[in-house]
């Protein structure tokens, strides 16, 4: 009995711990010395990670349901709000925890003066992500969506002394707020139709019904809103602006979990709410989601190759990966979902390591331009190795966990009768990893040209953020003294610390390596594939667990049947190595002086695509409106 | 009766909302937006949502106009 109480208390504790930590950090950080703030924040993030890891284990096999305020459903009607914990959701939550911990450790020396507010925002971000992953209530999902968004807007604009982060934050905030409104309208429509806000109960009410206009539009508004967060073409324009200009520790959280949350919501809402609609809409919906996924994967990869600003390049790499995950999710099979979730974990860790590595370079060399940094990697060997390793595992280098994810995805595509999807995935992975490897080759080996082959050397090559991050984090919160209204300038200390020749602090070198090591460890864990997507995709089992209709006898349907350890099979390894080699070739060609004509031609050929990424919020909102309408039209065709 | 009140409030909100968007000068817009905010509060009240109406008044008629005006003051000051 005691044990039961304590495990069920873990569920609320996973959001209560970070929220309480954040509230204290926001309200009382002025009472604490700097080291205490850092330590408390890291401890809270690690504790949250531990709690969510416990939840993965505890929810394996059957979802754990927790009713807030003690309001259990009565007479088949849901009264309160529940958390429906499944391994996939708890896994996403623990990924958020791991990355938040890494980011906070990294901040130890990265921000010179953070005054606790940055930590508070990171912890609230973490709590909101956990809520987002666990909640079983549609409106609570919207609230979590907005909370993730609000903390993210503020964190993006953290370096408020430069135009690029501010503009990135504005584009991000405007587009994602509209996404939130779209979600909320969808919530309203579904409530009007089904009289419930609980995912399971809405799903039960819609099961077996034929979709009409309202349901189609509700689906399009909900999914469209989530796809804005997931930065899927054509909702993606804000992502490079925000990720390319946010502070590095924040990029880690964004690239690793935030956008993935959008995809998580898409599949969760589809599975629990819409998948039971009559008319066998699955295959057609698969085509729609795959279309968006493929477009995103390819556009992201091509754009990544066209970048020379490292953070913006990683932003497009992230976007390309989001497309790949959407392909996995969009197959709408447990196997595809399993592959996508392994990729989310593996790639999330690797991308975070890459961002952190770029942060070290920026910290030491005061630049993030691949061209300006050419040949300046000496003295940063560990970081160079980190970045190259990160790029290689993104391309699928075994036995890292991403290669297992790729293998599952390939199997899923085969099973779905869509083997050509593999080619799209391989191509995007090769191009995006090749871009990162090219940058590494230029910086650490001094290969390639010292000027850009881009036809127009636009402003974004070097968006005025060379000296970012340290010079403007002076948190000059000095109060006006009783007599002297003096300006306060506490950043002198900080400026000195960012001196060029100082040794890189270990708190900046170790977190990226630790993240890669976690991914490697997961890849070596036997049977990771089998555990990847348990019981999530079974709407009936989910509804039964939430609504308690089948008193305890929850079928373990939806369990993944994985063909005999695909990652270890010779074919899988060969494919992975082929991808790695191809990525190296892409990087080699991009750096080879003889191939300049080819590069010019490619740059000219993709110029139109780059011009679409104008960074103007008006354009982005126009695309958003068009995308919502397009999605609605496609959903009409798929669901009706 | 209540139907008529709601209809009036809806028309008021639609018209003033459009005016907010079409008023291109931010200072003028701030005042039109206040009028729109009051319209919203009136609409919410007529829809029997007292709590929401009260929130709308404190946010739409006190807090946000204040912040918009302060932002405009800051922006205008920098310019001058």
């Amino acid at each position: 009995m005691d044990l039961v109480v304590s495990t069920s208390a873990v569920v609320p504790a996973s959001v209560v711990v970070p929220l309480a930590g954040a509230a204290l950090m926001a309200g009382f950080s002025w009472l604490l010395p700097r080291w205490a703030r850092d330590l408390i924040a890291i401890a809270v993030a690690l504790a949250t990670t531990t709690l969510t890891l416990i939840l993965i284990a505890a929810s394996a096999g059957h979802p754990m349901i927790y009713w807030f305020s003690g309001w259990r459903p009565s007479g088949g009607m849901v009264i309160g709000i529940d958390y429906a914990v499944c391994p996939l959701g708890a896994g996403m939550a623990s990924l958020a925890g791991v990355l938040a911990s890494a980011a906070l450790v990294y901040c130890w020396r990265y921000f010179d003066s953070a005054r606790g507010r940055h930590h508070a925002l990171v912890l609230i971000f973490l709590a909101a992500s956990v809520d987002f992953c666990l909640t079983g209530d549609l409106f609570n999902l919207f609230v979590a969506f907005e909370l993730v968004a609000v903390t993210a807007f503020a964190l993006t604009g953290y370096n408020a002394g430069h135009p690029a982060p501010l503009q990135g934050a504005i584009n991000f905030a405007v587009t994602n707020s509209l996404g939130g409104m779209s979600v909320l309208m969808g919530v309203g429509f579904l409530y009007a139709r089904t009289g419930s806000l609980n995912l399971a109960q809405i799903g039960q009410a819609l099961a077996g019904r034929h979709a009409d206009g309202l349901i189609v539009v509700a689906f399009a508004l909900l999914t469209g809103g989530f796809l804005v967060k997931a930065a899927v073409v054509p909702f993606h324009f804000w992502l490079p602006d925000a990720y390319g200009s946010a502070p590095i520790p924040v990029c880690v959280l964004f690239a690793g979990v935030m956008s993935e949350l959008g995809l998580f919501a898409v599949i969760r809402v589809w599975d629990t709410v819409f998948s039971g609609l009559a008319g066998g809409s699955g295959p057609r919906m698969r085509a729609v989601l795959l279309g968006f996924g493929i477009l995103t994967a390819v556009v992201g990869a091509v754009m990544a190759l066209a970048q020379i600003q490292l953070k913006r390049m990683l932003a497009f790499v992230t976007m390309s990966h989001l497309g790949i995950y959407l392909i996995g999710v969009g197959l709408l099979t447990p196997l595809g979902l399993a592959g996508a979730s392994l990729l989310v974990i593996g790639d999330g860790l690797a991308k975070s390591a890459l961002f952190l590595g770029v942060g070290v370079v920026q910290h030491q060399r005061a630049s993030v331009s691949e061209i300006k940094l050419r040949g300046s990697g000496r003295g940063l060997a560990v970081t160079g190795v980190t970045i190259v390793l990160g790029a290689l595992v993104l391309a699928g280098l075994p036995p890292y966990v991403s290669s297992a994810g790729h293998a599952l995805l390939v199997d899923a595509a085969d099973q779905a009768g869509l083997p050509w999807v593999e080619i799209v995935i391989a191509l995007s992975v090769i191009l995006s990893s090749g871009a990162v490897l090219r940058a590494a080759g230029r910086i650490w080996l001094g290969w390639g040209d010292s000027e850009s082959s881009r036809p127009d050397t636009g402003t974004a090559d070097d968006p005025g953020e060379e000296a970012e991050d340290r010079s403007d984090t002076a948190d000059a919160d000095g109060k006006l003294g009783a007599n002297g209204l003096t300006g306060v300038d506490r950043d002198q200390d900080g400026r000195e610390r960012s001196g060029r020749l100082r040794r890189v602090p270990l708190t900046m070198v170790l977190p990226p390596l630790a993240l890669l090591a976690i991914g490697l460890g997961l890849g070596l864990t036997s049977g990771i594939e089998e555990h990847a997507a348990a019981a999530f995709s079974d709407r009936a089992a989910y509804a039964a667990a939430v609504l308690g209709t089948h008193g305890g006898s929850i079928p373990t349907g939806g369990r993944v049947v994985v063909p005999a350890s695909p990652a270890a099979s010779a074919g899988g390894v060969l494919t992975d190595l082929g991808q790695v080699l191809a990525a190296l070739c892409v990087a080699g060609i991009a750096l080879d002086r003889r191939a300049v004509a080819l590069r010019r031609a490619l740059a000219a050929g993709t110029g139109w695509l780059r011009r679409l990424h104008s960074g103007l919020v008006g354009d982005q909102v126009t695309w958003l409106a068009a995308g919502l309408a397009l999605l609605a039209a496609l959903s009409e065709a798929a669901l009706h | 009766m209540s139907e008529a009140v709601i209809a009036v409030a809806l028309v008021w909100v639609a018209a003033s909302g459009t005016a907010v968007v079409l008023t291109r000068d931010p200072l003028c817009q701030a005042f039109v937006a206040g009028f729109f905010g009051l319209g919203l509060a009136f609409l919410y009240l007529s829809l029997q949502a007292g709590d929401v109406a009260l929130s709308q008044i404190v946010v739409g008629a006190i807090a946000l106009p204040l912040i918009v005006l302060l932002s405009l003051a800051k922006v205008g000051k920098d310019r001058g």
């Binding site: 609320p12 204290l24 309200g27 003690g70 409106f139 209204l485 609605a632 | -």
Partner: protein
């Protein structure tokens, strides 16, 4: 895109979006025709189960209390974020506005203005407190009352002068009340957990319906939300006020 191209594209997109929304809205039950059985049930149950008269606050703070918890943190994040964004940066300084005529002394505000400000702000404080404490009884509650309380502080600013208020250094106090309010919500939620019920369970005595102290944790939650919102909105306004009044580019 050129502005013209964008407008044309938007016109097409907006037309399509209008059709989409129209299709969705057309599927709604006709306006005013029905409310859901969930809502009917709560309207019936809440006054009896929770000894409140305002069902909306029972839903916000009890049946769906976790939503409001996160809502408070949205506000806290926004306020924290704004403090971060509007902090004086390294090339800025805090300085009172210089007088254009250097040897003129600024006259202190007249006693009449001062009195009026004190009167007005005490009126606002009373209204705010009444709104906060009657959350479970009448429309209004922690959020609405909190904003009213915050506005009281600004009447004091108007009536006296910036320097007078700053001399009391209200910022740490406001920040603390923001944090106390938000963590207070969490800790009241923990009461339920400690009592062996779920997080945010209403385990305090429910009292007599219609009483100011009734509804169990609902008035307590209203109170902490009021504290948080009052602190939060006061910080919000003071950050923007600082930008206008005292933060200016540093001359090199």
């Amino acid at each position: 895109m050129s502005r013209r191209a964008r407008l044309v594209f938007f016109a097409a997109a907006a037309a399509a979006l209008a059709v989409t929304l129209g299709a969705g809205l057309a599927g709604l039950p006709s306006f005013g025709s029905q409310i859901t059985s969930y809502a009917r049930m709560l309207n019936e149950l809440a006054p009896r189960q929770r000894h409140v008269t305002d069902v909306v606050s029972a839903i916000s703070f009890d049946y769906r209390g976790i939503d409001t918890l996160f809502e408070e943190f949205i506000l806290l994040s926004a306020v924290t974020g704004i403090s971060v964004l509007l902090r004086p940066l390294s090339d800025e300084t805090r300085q009172l506005p210089e007088d254009k005529v250097p040897d003129r002394t600024i006259p202190p505000p007249s006693p009449a203005v001062w009195l009026l400000a004190v009167f007005l702000s005490s009126l606002l404080v009373l209204t705010g407190l009444e709104t906060v404490t009657h959350g479970q009884l009448t429309p209004g509650g922690g959020f609405q009352g909190g904003v009213i309380l915050a506005s009281a502080l600004y009447v004091v600013y108007l009536g006296t002068s910036y320097v007078t208020v700053e001399r009391f250094e209200p910022a740490p106090l406001l920040e603390a009340s923001d944090g106390v309010g938000a963590s207070g919500y969490v800790f009241i939620g923990l009461l339920g957990l400690l009592a062996g019920a779920g997080f945010l369970s209403n385990v305090v005595g429910l009292g007599v319906t219609g009483n100011v102290i009734s509804g169990g944790t609902i008035p307590l939650l209203n109170l902490v939300v009021g504290v948080e919102v009052a602190g939060g909105f006061a910080i919000l306004a003071s950050e923007f006020l600082d930008q206008t009044a005292v933060i200016r580019p540093r001359r090199r």
